[in-house]
Amino acid sequence: MKLQKASSFALYAVLELAGDPTSQLSGTEIADKYGISAHHLAKVLRDLGRAGIVEAARGVGGGYRLAVNAKRLTLFDVIQIFEPIGPQNAAEEDPELSTDAGCALRMVLDELDDHALATFRSITISTMLKLMARRPWAGSSRFAKAPRRAASHR
């Protein structure tokens, strides 16, 4: 499963801000750390601000800080701002999904969506911080860094 870029950027920002609630971070600082577009992240932070999840501090040294309790904020709360999660009622838009084959396929896909929904709803930002501290993926080849692509001359 892959999240849309805006959702991932939002989660990176929220995790950064929740990791040190006493400090404020600018969008550029966060973007630099993750190597992502500062312009895109600025838009994401504005959306998070409108949703009441982060708040901007004005003035010199201003930046963003988390506006909610990390123990109460779930992955679902953040992701659903940027993309739909869970079973969607797609039959109205796609008539073929009302056929027997379409319904059977939707049933299977809904099962996957239900699991994703339960997962995103049950994991708080605080739990994510604990997971990051534990680093259970250390040593796992599945999470190994992808090698940087060398310039191709072909």
Partner: protein, 156 residues
């Protein structure tokens, strides 16, 4: 970035194995949480988990000033689904008014210690996927999805 580990232990909470005198307190606590007084169920649970101390079965209670504020139930099961012995957690409950004070975490950690002492190195549980409260609790304790998928079917 510095990460914050949020945890804590409730003050004055004593975690211990349940004894027969706890039966009424457990029935009352369960009734407060679920809205159902299940005395027969709890008598059977005591017979299975409270009395047989030689088996790796655990019914632990969290006591504060003589009152039961929570409980957790688990046992070691071996070779279910072809898996070596592991600790199963069947139930955890904390009185609603005393939640968010670390009682559930203390119960969980004490049960994990008991499982370790019994020689197992893995714990498992299963719950309804819409039970966000308990699911979030186990997630916050570091539990992740395991290698099994639960399936069911209606019998015609």
């Amino acid at each position: 970035m510095t990460t914050t580990i949020i945890s804590g232990k409730a003050r004055g909470i004593h975690i211990r194995p349940a004894v027969n005198l706890d039966l009424s307190g457990l029935v009352a606590l369960d009734a407060e949480v679920t809205g159902l007084a299940k005395r027969t169920y709890w008598k059977e649970t005591f017979a299975r988990y409270g009395a047989r101390r030689r088996l790796p079965r655990f019914l632990l209670v969290a006591e504060h000033r003589g009152r039961i504020e929570g409980f957790i139930i688990g046992e070691v099961r071996a070779w279910e689904f072809g898996e070596p012995p592991c600790g199963w957690i069947f139930a955890v409950q904390v009185r609603p008014k005393t939640r968010l004070k670390g009682i559930g975490t203390q119960l969980f950690e004490t049960l994990c210690d008991a499982f370790r002492h019994a020689g197992v190195g893995k714990i498992r549980t299963m719950m309804a996927r819409d039970n966000q409260l308990v699911l979030s609790f186990f997630r916050s304790q570091g539990m992740m999805a395991g290698p099994f998928i639960e399936l069911e079917a209606a019998l015609d």
